[in-house]
Amino acid sequence: MALTKKRTSQLGIDKADVRKARTLARQVGKPIVDLATQHTTVSVERATLRLAGLGGADPDGTPWVNRLADAVRADVELEHGVSLPVWDALLRGEGDDLLTLAQKAAAGSVTFRIPAGKDATRARAASRKAVAAGIKQIDRQRTARERMIAKVGDAPSKPWIYLIVATGDIMEDIPQAQAAAREGADVIAVIRSTGQSLLDFVPEGATREGFAGTYATQENFRLMRAALDETSRELGRYVRLTNYASGLCMPEIAALAGLERLDMMLNDSMYGILFRDINPIRTFVDQRFSRQVHARAGIIINTGEDNYLTTADAVEAAHTVTTSQLLNEYFAKEAGLEDWQLGLGHAFEIDPEVPDSFRLELAHAMLARELFPDAPLKWMPPTRHMTGDIFKGYLLDGFFNLVGAMTGQGILLVGMMTEAVVTPWISDRDLALQNVRYVMNAAGNLHEDFHPSPDGFIASRAREVLGEAITLLQDIKDDRDAAGDPPLLAAIADGTFGLMKRPADKGRGLDGVAKKAADYYNPATEILETP
């Protein structure tokens, strides 16, 4: 595990190049952070209301946070934030609590205003007090996690074995997740229902219907965490729970994850833009807030670079993965996340027919390991070249595991030989875990002996990819568009990542973005940004 404690490069990488890459990532990322701090979104405001304790939904299933935020927006726009008008209304006696106020607002019997002077000061203080209680709860959950790990024990070794459940029914997911943990999973991910990322509200309650996954709801989070706590005690190791802080409700889901003690969240800086056509500004604003929450909650984020390789060629696009990792790192650290919380993604997706494909995979994985020595990288199995030939797929997964073993990956998503055939059967999962165990047992310490020749194929390829990433970052930095957007937005509009063109003035959720007014106030941001 302590494979690169000596920080000299095994790949012959010049430290100056690494510094240059990080500087460029900062230069590209900074204007985006500035943009994010100048805007708010409906989901950031609803997340703030959730932190203040507003939950539940009306009889039609529309969450009260949506009803309240919509009512406020109708009266006074979004640009001041919802906190001042909402707590001003509470102080004016329009409702005894948030829920009553939301119900009355939904019925149209409350008029919101932007308080001024002493009223504003009082509204500010009251909102801060309410939101601080939610953040206190997140802090308690973080402590509870640390205590539980100290008491029952942690995952016995790295990489953590990451398995997926996806039945659509939380009541089916629970026994499956517990079974997967007993079989050896250190991390359980509950795949979300396809399409949830495009819902502009978080469904409510325990859900039993989903497509290819289960809805992320606060109650589903609570039920699954409680079940895994029970299993953690039974197994004598803490089993981590993962979900997705992505899509239009990213900030709210991050808040719910913190409140219900989820341990890892998929949270990429650009995934929603590229793969879900969510507006770039909406995404960057939501992403910054959600990462601030994750930082506070002690949640490990998983980024989504593996996805680039499912649409673009894994050799040609290798440097876009590195580039995105550097940007994700910058955005994450800016939001307060620490190295141990950065599950930067990458994947084993090179066409096995390509000569030297394994050496290329190893080069790319070693590069990621060297660039981010203290991050628990997330290693994703082959999907694109899993063809239905399960025998070949099983071998490919073995080679994937071997790269994982040799490069000290922190989180290993277990590859299934029946990828692209069926949702994993019990036997698929067991065979996949046998594959992982065999490789870790047989070659887990191979990194002690394996040092690529500095002028050999692997080291040269790693340096080449880093060089291409630096060039790409330089190109992004120099990118300009007619509107004068930050260069990264212009680059995203050009189709730089994953071959998808996403202009800054298009995409889903744009109508939920507002430029902050001078008197904008958000107690959650204020608390989260206080060191």
Binding site: G168, A179, R182, E183, S193, T194, G195, S197, L198, F211, A212, F275, R276, D277, T310, T311, A312, D313, R384, G388, A420, W425, I426, S427, D430, L431, L499, M500
Partner: protein, 251 residues
């Protein structure tokens, strides 16, 4: 070559050997192995050799069974959809469109319903392509509009109208609860409703779990399944849309 009756081949002609793996919800024991052999027997494997039995989870056992089947298969009675159009190179396809339509042929594509898996549609449409063939965006005479993932049926119809689509390509990967079939029927019904029959764009669906023979039942012009290449799709579209109209219809 004549294809007479055949049976599975292990290492000797006519040995009828097959392999099978499955899980039974029973803890591993001699009885469990016997149960596995019994299942294989009932499936027509005789003799059946349980070569591997391993407990998996609590109360489950995984088996690998080898055995002989006595069934014969008759390839002459197998029904498949054979390609009924010539395979064109991109150059030939472009030339055919140019001479017959005298404008670019418009293709609108996307994944409908909640399906977020754009792998299929992207493999066919993106320049990058699939299996060494360039995607439809590479064809100079094709105008490709890729709507991406999670497109609603009304959005698709709207986009098809706006772009004056000649062909609409829909990819469906998620098959839970037959979502791919339901979505496709909804899509074809919407196009029938929105367009007079003669003006309706060519409807093509594809995905790994479709059955090629279901086009009529699903109300589409063609179903493509696993392994389809961009060239096949382009050739089909060109074949159907650039056929010289028959003399009788000319007025």
């Amino acid at each position: 070559m004549s294809t007479g009756l055949i049976r599975p081949y292990g290492d000797t002609t006519g040995d009828g050997m097959v392999q099978l793996s499955f899980t039974l919800p029973i803890a591993h024991s001699k009885v469990a192995e016997g149960a596995a052999a019994q299942l294989a027997n009932k499936m027509g494997m005789d003799p059946a050799l349980v070569v591997h039995a391993k407990p998996m989870g609590e109360g489950f056992t995984f088996f690998v069974v080898y055995g002989r089947v006595n069934h014969l298969v008759d390839p002459s009675t197998v029904e498949v959809v054979e390609r009924d159009y010539p395979l064109l190179t991109p150059k030939e396809a472009n030339a055919a469109i140019k001479s017959s339509l005298r404008r670019r042929l418009v293709v609108v594509g996307g994944c409908i319903g909640t399906d977020a898996h754009t792998v299929g549609i992207d493999a066919i449409l993106n320049i990058k392509g699939f299996a060494g063939e360039k995607g439809l965006e590479y064809y100079r005479e094709l105008k490709v509009v890729n709507l991406g993932a999670q497109v609603s049926v009304p959005q698709l119809v709207e986009a098809a109208r706006e772009e004056k689509a000649d062909a609409v390509l829909v990819s469906q990967v998620v098959t839970q609860r037959d979502a791919h079939l339901l979505n496709t029927r909804e899509m074809s019904a919407a196009f029938r409703e929105a367009y007079p029959a003669a003006k309706r764009p060519l409807l093509v669906v594809g995905g790994p779990r479709f059955d090629e023979t279901m086009a009529g039942e699903l109300g589409v012009d063609r179903v493509f399944t696993r392994g389809t290449t961009p060239g096949e799709v382009a050739s089909f579209i060109v074949h159907r849309l650039t056929r010289p109209t028959s003399g009788e219809k000319a007025s």
